[in-house]
Amino acid sequence: MEQFSLTLPSDALPQNIASATLCGVVSSGNLEILVEPAAASDACRIVVNTSAHGFRDIWEAVLKDFARRHSVGGLSLSINDAGATPAVVSLRLDQAFETCRGELA
């Protein structure tokens, strides 16, 4: 297992989310993302647990693009990864964001 965390600047979500959202499953080539409210509204805090070693540069690039693409300030993301490709990670991140935004609306 490899674990690391990042705090990425991002525009604040329009309003706070009330509860936690879970997206995806931990199975081979897949991952789960838990989205929860966080204290700081101008940053997104992300903790990554991954079974694949040596891909931290790619993780950071994928996560920075995510925080740039969406206003995710005020969110805390916990990721449990079982060897997903960057394509799957991006898709799950976008799905998690769309789900939690949908619950706001």
């Binding site: 080539g29 694949a52 891909f55 790619i58 690039a61 994928v62 490709t85 960057p86 394509a87 799957v88 991006s90 898709l91 976008d94 799905q95 769309e98 789900t99």
Partner: protein, 553 residues
């Protein structure tokens, strides 16, 4: 005036050689029928050192009994053979080379034997003439690679030697036509000998010998893709293909590769494409094997016509029950023909889409990787602009306008699309600075790196990041950045020029899913018209009979 001396010149050496071979073998046959016990003797009687020999086999049916028998022949008698055949797929094909009976090979595809073949080439045990496309190899059968002896496979024969190939006609007509009309010898293995055939696919006077094989010829179910294995990324890329490409260009006539990416597109037609109002507007006419994953689209009335290279195991009853869609004989079973279907895919389709292992910065793509000489089969004929084409269609004309701009002479272009996830399994990037094909060409002493689709023919790349439209690129730099721009987080993608890529996006050369109105949250497996092989059986009304390895219920 002296007339040239022509008295010594003989014009029938092929016929005399053929007669001598037949005379040597005569005692082994009753009529044209030879016992399986005598087949090795027959091969030794009719094949001579240095002969060009075709052992029929494609990635589907195989003349496997004849291949096994050839390996049992005396290597001191049958040597220096030149194999001219579509595939080197059976272990026996390579065994023949290892036994020193083959000095040269010209072929198209070697999938399962790719690693063994590469080792033999590197150790100089064999010379490769060329790795052809199917149509190219068939063409050379009629010019400079005509077989002296063809070993073919059919479903059944009658006692006269007429052959019934059933749905898996495949390469047989092309091989037999070239061999028999140039003084060659045709030997057919059949599964059964019957009094009356359901239909005649190859007439008896084109066939010299028939042997009933101890076991039915092998057929690989190569085109069966289990919907259960289709990923959400493949669903997303399928949505991109349908909305961003098929709908945009109005693609009606097309060919699909055999991967899961294109299987996903087939399964999205009755759902996603139908919801977009595209029924009857896209994907009506196909050059395609009878893919089980096309069943839901056929049942939904999307598909008007399918012509096939070969058949697919388990699809026999389904194709027979849909004669309006598939090409079928008077006996009710499908007839395939690889040569004609390749021609159809090349000339009569507006789009080819398939997957690959590597794409470089020029858009060249290859499935050749280090230590594997795999070949390409049919993809290069479909995945190439048909320069000889002279009939117009809206999709072809639009691609031509995009690619050539407004020039004096109107001319279209085929859409040639590669669809890949940016990383394959084990985080192998699909985008590379340099294809492994170069290194393979160097180690194997090949004149050409084995490229499946040339960059100059490639018009679009689809990844989970969106579509790159290479037709609209006006400079080599734009083209390179368009490719980097959809290469995601691969090293090639990370090295993109961010500003240039954003400029390409503004101009519609790169289109992201959101630019096409595609919501990623819609990309779930629920969108597939079938999510398992069992679903496909249901969709076919029980007519599809999947091979055992695809049955898990």
């Amino acid at each position: 005036m002296n007339a040239p001396d022509i008295s010594e010149k003989r014009w029938d050496t092929l016929a005399r050689s053929r007669a001598a071979r037949l005379a040597r073998a005569g005692h082994l046959a009753t009529g044209c029928i030879v016992s399986a016990d005598d087949i090795v003797q027959l091969l030794e009687a009719v094949i001579e050192p240095g002969d060009r020999v075709c052992i029929e086999g494609n990635n589907q049916k195989q003349a496997d009994f004849l291949a096994r028998s050839l390996v049992k022949t005396d290597p001191s008698r049958l040597r220096d053979l030149h194999l001219v055949q579509s595939v080197l797929a059976l272990p026996e094909h390579i065994d023949l080379i290892e036994r020193g009976q083959v000095s040269r090979i010209d072929f198209s595809f070697s999938g399962p034997q790719a690693a063994r073949l590469a080792r033999l080439v590197e150790s100089r045990k064999i010379a490769i003439g060329a790795i052809h496309t199917y149509l190219e190899l068939f063409a050379r059968y009629f010019v400079d690679l005509t077989p002296r002896v063809a070993l073919i496979a059919a479903q059944a024969a009658d006692r006269e030697g007429n052959l019934y190939t059933g749905p898996n006609t495949e390469d047989t007509p092309a091989i037999v036509e070239a061999t028999t009309f140039k003084g060659g010898i045709v030997i057919a293995q059949v599964n059964e000998i019957v009094d009356k055939l359901p239909r005649v696919d190859i007439p008896a006077d084109w066939v010299d010998f028939v042997v009933k094989a101890p076991t039915p010829h092998y057929i690989e179910p190569l085109f069966t893709r289990d919907p259960a294995q289709i990923t959400e990324i493949q669903v997303l890329m399928g949505m991109i293909a349908i909305k961003g490409l098929y709908a945009e260009y109005g693609i009606k006539r097309l060919n699909h590769g055999i991967g899961f990416d294109t299987a996903a597109i087939e399964l999205l037609l009755p759902t996603y494409a139908a919801d977009l109002g595209l029924k009857g507007k896209i994907c009506t006419h196909w050059a395609l094997n009878p893919h089980p994953t096309l069943i839901p689209a056929i049942e939904a009335g999307f598909v008007e016509s399918v012509h096939s290279f070969g058949s697919e195991v388990g699809m026999e009853r389904y194709t027979a029950a849909r004669p309006d869609v598939f090409f079928t004989g008077a006996d009710g079973s499908m007839r395939s023909n690889r040569a004609f279907c390749q021609a159809a895919g090349h000339y009569a389709c507006d789009l080819f889409i398939g997957s690959t292992l590597q794409i470089d910065l020029h858009g060249n793509s290859s499935t050749a990787t280090k230590g594997r000489i795999a070949g390409f089969g049919g993809a290069p004929n479909m995945g190439a602009d048909a320069r000889g084409r002279r009939h117009a269609s809206p999709a072809w004309l639009r691609a031509g306008r995009e690619g050539r701009g407004d020039i004096a002479m109107p001319r279209g272009q085929k859409l040639v699309v590669q669809i890949v996830e940016t990383f394959r399994e084990h985080m192998e990037p699909a985008f590379v600075e340099r294809l492994d094909a170069w290194e393979l060409a160097a180690t194997a002493n090949m004149e050409l790196p084995p490229v499946m689709i040339y960059g100059e023919d490639l018009t679009h790349i689809i990844t989970e990041e969106g579509i790159a439209n290479l037709l609209l690129c006006r400079t080599p730099q734009e083209r390179e950045q368009a490719i980097r721009g959809v290469a995601g987080y691969t090293p090639v993608g990370m090295a993109r020029d961010l500003r240039m890529v954003e400029n390409l996006r503004d101009r519609g050369i790169i289109r992201r899913p959101e630019d096409m109105g595609i919501r990623k949250s819609d990309a779930t497996r629920d969108l597939l018209a079938a999510r398992s092989v069992k679903d496909l059986v249901y969709a076919s009304g029980g007519l599809y009979d999947p091979p055992r390895q695809f049955r898990n219920w």
